[in-house]
Assembly symmetry: C2
Homo-oligomer: 248 residues x 2
DNA sequence: CGGGGGGTTGATCTCCTTCAATCAACGTGG
DNA sequence: CCACGTTGATTGAAGGAGATCAACCCCCCG
């Protein structure tokens, strides 16, 4: 898949689907007005790079729709995904020149971007933005630490179950897709991307998904559509017993 | 070792060793004054818990001296260290009741604590604190993500080398202990704690340290004192080639 | 029809875990 | 001062979970 560049689109903050969850969530009308002046939309097609590791970043922004990944790569080519960016997630780091990671669109992606310098200035004058960003960063830090447990201590089977339960829970919180008690969702990642997220090979990912299917923990329709008949069972397989930890 | 509780000590912010690096780094004299009113010192002895996972936290604070670890534990006892807390590091999460992790003092520890509610109120009125906390949290997030690469993709030998080079670099930035070109430091962790940090067993840690010693990458004096004759070599072993990534 | 991307499955290999013995340093009490 | 237990660390032998290498399938698309 080639990067064909980006298209520009426009939208009003009022009908923005991530208005209440993104960095701008706590902004008042007048503050939004200021943001509108420094914002612009960009569209990326599936497979294209939003940012290259090491590159200078002249913007920060929010994922409006679609999914992107945050990955690190070693010289010899080994890669580790360090974050999954979903709608409302923030991209970029105020106060730093370059990006430490590759950001890649895994689906078609729309981002709401802010020019970096003006945004940094706004952060100093608009507590609502800085506070929201702090909150979001603390959440991401918790997520990263939870993932460290997954990477460091869980078995391949538990890793897969952990990933599935995270995606399932996220989808459940957005939509109401609990048809007849069983959760349902589409995997937004290829087997290879899952492997990069879980610190495994794609073969192991495939085998463990097959094993979970054989054991009735999940039901597959095609390669990507997953049905979870018993969420508690899945979380048990993930090693996260029952409660699953309180979400923000 | 038993937890004998904590002793209280006092200190003035002016001669505080972490004054310029902790959450309070950007505070002006008047803001420090306010902090002084809600602050108190606590001393923990090596091996004792600062916080238990799940417990309600009525304070947040900074590590003044000593070292603590942040660990997560699964029901079956598997543990993963998710953070190493050094002087100036922040403990606790504003806006959340309980702690998600165990915080354990690995050496004797002194903490500068702030009562949580007043601190949260101050965060809303004092941009200097919120801004500094955001900066520190973003740094921690980067560190956590770097560690995800270590946990997910590196070999045991590379993991050990990564840990050693991180500790070496940190020590180098604090002290000037580059006697005759070779860095020198003491390991602040037992083999078991290193294993918990690296997602390994303590036996593997021991074996890989021995191997690095045999290969001349490090020199050991006793079990804990490490000499690194060639830092570039160590970083090569860690898989972080040469530059080592830009620090903040 | 051919080709390529994504996915599954099999056979083998290897690195790390597991289980276990041993050792050095240290403290404690007889 | 020496036997004893404890704690941290090292080392050995055996086994296994996951990596690696490789074949093959499915499906879409040109």
């Amino acid at each position: 898949m080639m990067n064909l560049g980006s298209m520009t689109v426009h939208q009003d903050c009022d009908d923005c689907p991530i208005r209440h969850r993104a960095v701008c969530a706590r902004c008042e009308a007048d503050e939004l007005q200021l943001l509108e002046e420094i914002k612009y939309y960009r569209r990326f097609e599936a497979g294209s790079h939003v940012i290259w590791s090491g590159d200078k970043m002249d913007f920060v922004g929010s994922v409006v729709s679609g999914i992107a990944t945050l990955t690190q790569t070693m010289e010899d080519g080994r890669t580790q995904m360090v974050g999954l960016l979903l709608p409302s997630d923030f991209v970029g780091r105020p106060g730093r020149e370059g990006s430490a990671y590759d950001v890649v669109a895994t689906t078609d992606l729309v981002m709401c971007c802010f020019r970096k310098k003006p945004f940094e200035r706004m952060m100093e004058t608009t507590p609502a933005i800085a506070q929201r960003l702090l909150q979001m960063t603390l959440d991401e830090l918790d997520a990263a630490r939870e993932w460290m447990l997954v990477l460091g201590r869980k078995t391949a089977r538990e890793k897969i179950a952990s990933l599935l339960s995270i995606i399932a829970r996220r989808d459940a919180s957005l939509n109401f897709n609990s048809s007849d008690g069983g959760l349902t969702f589409d995997l937004p990642l290829t087997r290879e991307a899952m492997a990069d997220y879980l610190g495994l090979t794609l073969e192991t990912v495939s085998r463990q998904i097959s094993a979970l299917k054989k054991d009735g923990v999940i039901v597959l329709e095609g390669k990507r559509h997953v049905i979870v008949p018993d969420m508690a069972r899945l979380m048990e397989e993930a090693g996260d017993d029952s409660d699953g930890g309180l979400l923000a």
